[in-house]
């Protein structure tokens, strides 16, 4: 096994997802099969090979620091699940 049910539950917490107990077995099996398959990359010796992050060799794409029109508060908030006083509203973060 590449991955255990405990690992899957840990990854779910990192990904901010909940795996229902009845789904855990199937999901673990599917993830294990996929991780087993991708293991074939280890057949290749990649010592000294540069990793490729992007297809186009762009390192920094700078532009002039000029003031340009922005989307505006109203537009930015139009899809907010909850907004108040021009801000996104979220559940309480810091416990008192």
């Amino acid at each position: 096994m590449k991955i255990s049910q405990k690992d899957v539950e840990h990854v779910a917490r990192l990904a901010r997802l909940t795996v229902a107990p009845e789904e855990l077995n199937t999901l673990t099996g599917q993830m294990d099969a996929i991780l087993g398959y991708v293991d074939k990359l280890n057949e290749l010796d990649t010592d000294g090979i540069e990793p490729m992050a992007h297809a186009v060799p762009i390192s920094n794409a700078f532009r002039e620091d000029e003031i340009r029109p922005a989307i505006g508060i109203e537009r930015a908030l139009q899809n907010a699940p909850v907004a108040e006083d021009g801000c996104f509203k979220v559940p309480k973060i810091i416990e008192s």
Partner: protein
């Protein structure tokens, strides 16, 4: 249909002469959608009022002699493109209520050229899928056989063109999501070189692989659409500032003297016999047209699926972290704090395949596994890119099948994600290498299902692919057939 056998330029002649109006053409499309979409489910949102308004404006422009490349032409875009004041759902429950506050750059370019945007097309959720079955808006059906998948993830984009619902569409291609559905639906689809087309306003799946591409009924329309959307965009730092040629201008150049490579790794045992037959016939056609056919090798092909899924899933897990119920999309919250709200929202909002990929991507990026999975895949990606670089020193183009089988039955692979991933074997390597490729019809299976031919070109050599595709299309009649819906 009024336009099905016509190119965009031929429709324009009729619009100019007054034989046809954009309003009439748009009404025809809307009626065709009403008549066929109950069986296809290609559209998520139809913008009837907006389309008819835009068509009326186009007719005024035409009357005034102000014609642009797409004036009055009904098109549609995958529901992954932001379109001002219209819903953009990515076929996900988590974005079900999301209304775009701006246009994607490619959508702006369509509008600037006078296109009439008829609606938003169904897809695999967040572009993750190869069949059109992973959609919160329901499964998409293939116009040639509604019991089969249309391919994915730009499922509706291909099905809508094949069914004559609109003239042309935009899709996105991360690992074959334009080419494979185009192949399964018997239409023409193009994946441009990474950086050729702006990604601004296109919901991100895997940012180092995603690219926007057109789908059309013929090569000429595909070339025209590509010319409209291509070009540098200051709003996309990965778009490349290099000149965009006039893709229509030298379309009839032909392939005489061109060297076309056949990568032997793509002609493996297990390739569907109907596909092998159709592709072999295409090779013979190219020989007759004066091309030189050369067998070549892309030795790391067999590693591309593993490499691709690791990179795509890792990037997806990062990109999809933004769906947290704070700034947009749905929120589910039963008062268990901020983390609880994130978990409830994401668990209820994402579909199974999206969750599976986020999980795998998170795992591949997590502490202790990063080097073994993500970094390893990035190194293998370099080897795959070098394969292409070497081969393009020997040949001008590569010719391959698009998919190992024709469109499969709906439901056949839903329980076996790995099997589904392996069906992308011929399209994935071009995304990893960052180069350009096209799918065009080259035959039909014994069961009457379309078969696609893939042409792969050097980076930024889109024009060369289009010329070769045009020569093939003129020499054959595969693109002339339409499904009997």
């Amino acid at each position: 249909m009024t336009f099905h056998d016509l190119t965009i330029q031929e429709i324009h002649q009729k619009l100019r002469s007054g034989e046809l109006t954009s309003v009439k053409l748009t009404q025809d499309c809307l009626e065709r959608i009403k008549a066929t979409d109950g069986r296809l489910n290609a559209f998520i949102t139809v913008c009837e009022d907006e389309a008819l308004t835009a068509a009326a404006v186009a007719d005024q422009q035409l009357a005034a002699g102000h014609e642009k490349l797409l004036t009055g032409i009904p098109v549609a875009v995958k529901d992954i493109f932001n379109t001002l004041d219209v819903r953009t759902t990515c076929a996900s429950k988590i974005l079900d209520n999301y209304v775009s506050p701006y246009d994607a750059t490619t959508v702006t370019k369509l509008r600037e050229q006078g296109a009439v945007i008829v609606g938003k097309l169904n897809m695999d959720e967040f572009a993750m899928g190869s069949s059109g079955e992973n959609s919160a808006a329901g499964v998409v059906h293939n116009p040639w056989d509604t019991e089969r998948v249309p391919g994915g993830s730009s499922s509706g984009s291909a099905a809508a063109v094949a069914a004559g619902q609109v003239v042309a569409t935009l899709g996105t291609d991360t690992g074959g999501s334009v080419r494979q559905p185009a192949s399964h639906c018997g239409v023409v689809g193009f994946k441009p070189t990474y950086g050729r087309v702006s990604r601004y306003g296109v919901v991100a799946f895997a940012s180092s692989l995603d690219q926007v591409g057109p789908i059309a009924g013929n090569v000429e329309d595909c070339a025209l659409m590509l010319g409209v959307i291509a070009g540098y965009d200051p709003a996309d730092s990965t778009s490349v500032d290099c000149p965009v040629p006039d893709y229509l201008k030298n379309l009839k150049t032909g392939v005489a003297g061109k060297k076309i490579g056949l990568p032997k790794e793509y002609f493996i045992a297990g390739l569907d016999p109907d596909i092998k037959k159709a592709v072999d016939a295409a090779i013979a056609t190219y020989r007759k047209l004066g091309a030189e056919i050369i067998e070549v090798s892309l030795p790391h092909t067999d590693y591309s699926v593993a490499c691709y899924y690791l990179i795509a899933m890792a990037e997806a897990s990062s990109n999809l972290a933004r769906y947290d119920g704070v700034r947009f999309g749905m929120r589910q919250d039963t008062g268990e704090g901020l983390i609880g709200m994130y978990q409830q929202t994401r668990t209820a909002g994402f579909g199974d395949e999206v969750k599976r990929r986020i999980m795998l991507g998170t795992y591949a990026l997590s502490s202790g596994y990063y080097d073994a999975y993500y970094l390893k895949a990035q190194k293998v990606r370099t080897l795959i890119r070098e394969d292409f670089r070497t081969v393009f020193e020997q040949v001008d183009l590569l010719l391959t099948p698009v998919a190992p089988t024709p469109a499969f039955k709906i439901g056949k692979m839903v329980d076996d994600p790995l099997q589904m991933y392996l069906s992308d074997i011929f399209t994935i390597p071009t995304n990893l290498a960052g180069t350009c490729a096209m799918s065009l019809p080259c035959g039909f299976s014994g069961e009457g299902l379309p078969i696609g031919l893939q042409l792969i070109g050097k980076p930024f050599a889109e024009a060369e692919i289009l010329q070769a595709a045009y020569a093939f299309e003129q020499a054959t009649d595969w693109s002339d057939r339409a499904p009997g819906l």
